[in-house]
Symmetry: C2
Subunit: 252 residues, 2 copies
């Protein structure tokens, strides 16, 4: 059987508000799950400030390295919304008024509501294609392999929900998760042995110290359901052999 | 008055579980706020997988560019905890048993509980200094300007709380936030004018579409309280002049 093509992605989160700690990013996990289900692997994410040189450099570094680059943030009408012009600069193309984006604004706003700030949102790099926004109408866009999305979670989610089914992907990445109360230090040797027997899967150990007490989730990820089930079975056996009680957790 | 030295930081989040969407990162915002208060500016964050070459390359790219680099994740006892050995490789030094870290393990575990997996947690790059862990004892470490912290939020928070007061920083970055219900497109021109009058401050506009309705937060950030108050006053006046009701929000 031929190796299946693996599709990769990078997310670039543009926003001073994330780096200042004001806003807790909620977009990365949402995008990651949607991409997983589509068989696209999120390989890296970057959080960068609203600085044009940084945006240009980051996007130009990412786009040859990944199949898809998604940016979030900075596509509104205010002075700190500079993503579109930076993406144009990254691609070396002019920023132009996109006729279809302008028409969407004209449907959404009364004529007296359309001012230069709002018209900025219809300016996009030459050659960009629109990404639909079912929430607040103002579209995102794609140029090359770069998808420029909103930062507001409700809008970003609507855009990614629309977008992801249209993207080429490979086999979905699935996971099985076994929880138990054993210490990681007790599990480590056996878990490593399971990982060695399943080099095609990715096994992670994630402890948590919660109000309800200590617990650890042993997570197996991969594309082959049969292999996942076999590895999850071995992990459950390992937990039992060490005196623990394995509990299968719902997939995330 | 001489320009005050600006201290900068980068956070490197190491973890497949963040990139798979399984775990929502909670560390970045926590670190950012602590650094702000200490006068250290978080300039970039990266989320990378548990892959040694990626960890080495990312850390080596970041450490000459920022005053401080903080990594989170990958310092436990299991096979997927590879951060210490990757940091040693990044610095070109051997990974060695740190006597003080070993003593901490010996105080924390009974002799029969100390196995090779747990002893791995006392292996650190040669020359590393310990970072205290008040929660689960096993320490993090510093080498050069790179601080290697746990990924589990409760542990990471204890480490950063201990660490940040010991770091050199500049003037704390403060913020004022004015909320209102006006559309960003209505505010944009006036807000840009305020930003032009206060080039020393960073003004951001953050809309939210919540169950309770639409709202926007206009956030001013900077080090000079007098300038912040003046800019916040102008923004409140702007909101009023456009028919809105400005509401000061608690600083974040």
């Amino acid at each position: 059987m031929a190796e299946e093509r693996v599709y990769t992605a990078c997310v670039v989160i543009i926003g001073n508000e994330i780096l200042s700690g004001r806003t807790q990013d909620a977009n990365l996990a949402y995008i990651a799950k949607k991409l997983n289900a589509r068989g696209i692997r999120l390989k890296e994410a970057r959080v960068i400030p609203d600085l044009c040189e940084t945006i240009v450099a980051t996007v130009n570094e990412a786009r040859p390295r990944f199949d898809y680059v998604f940016t979030t943030g900075g596509i509104g009408p205010t002075h700190d919304d500079i993503t579109a012009e930076c993406i144009a600069r990254a691609f070396g193309v002019p920023l132009t008024l996109h006729p279809e984006a302008k028409r969407i604004l004209e449907l959404h706003y009364r004529p007296d509501q359309i001012n230069p700030a709002r018209l900025r949102m219809a300016h996009m790099p030459e050659g960009a294609e629109l990404v639909r926004n079912a929430v607040s109408r103002v579209p995102g866009f794609r140029i090359g392999n770069v998808y420029v999305l909103a930062g507001v979670p409700e809008v970003m989610q609507a855009m990614i929900d629309d977008l992801v089914p249209t993207l080429a992907g490979g086999a979905p990445v699935r996971s099985r998760s076994i929880a138990c109360q054993l210490a990681e230090g007790v599990l480590a040797a056996g878990l490593e042995a399971v990982q060695r027997r399943f080099p095609d899967l990715d096994i992670g150990s994630y402890p948590a110290f919660r109000r309800t007490g200590y617990g650890v989730s042993l997570v197996v990820r991969g594309v082959d359901e049969t292999r996942l089930a076999a590895a999850a079975g071995e992990i459950a056996d390992l937990v039992r052999s060490l005196g623990g009680t394995p509990q299968e957790e719902p997939p995330t």
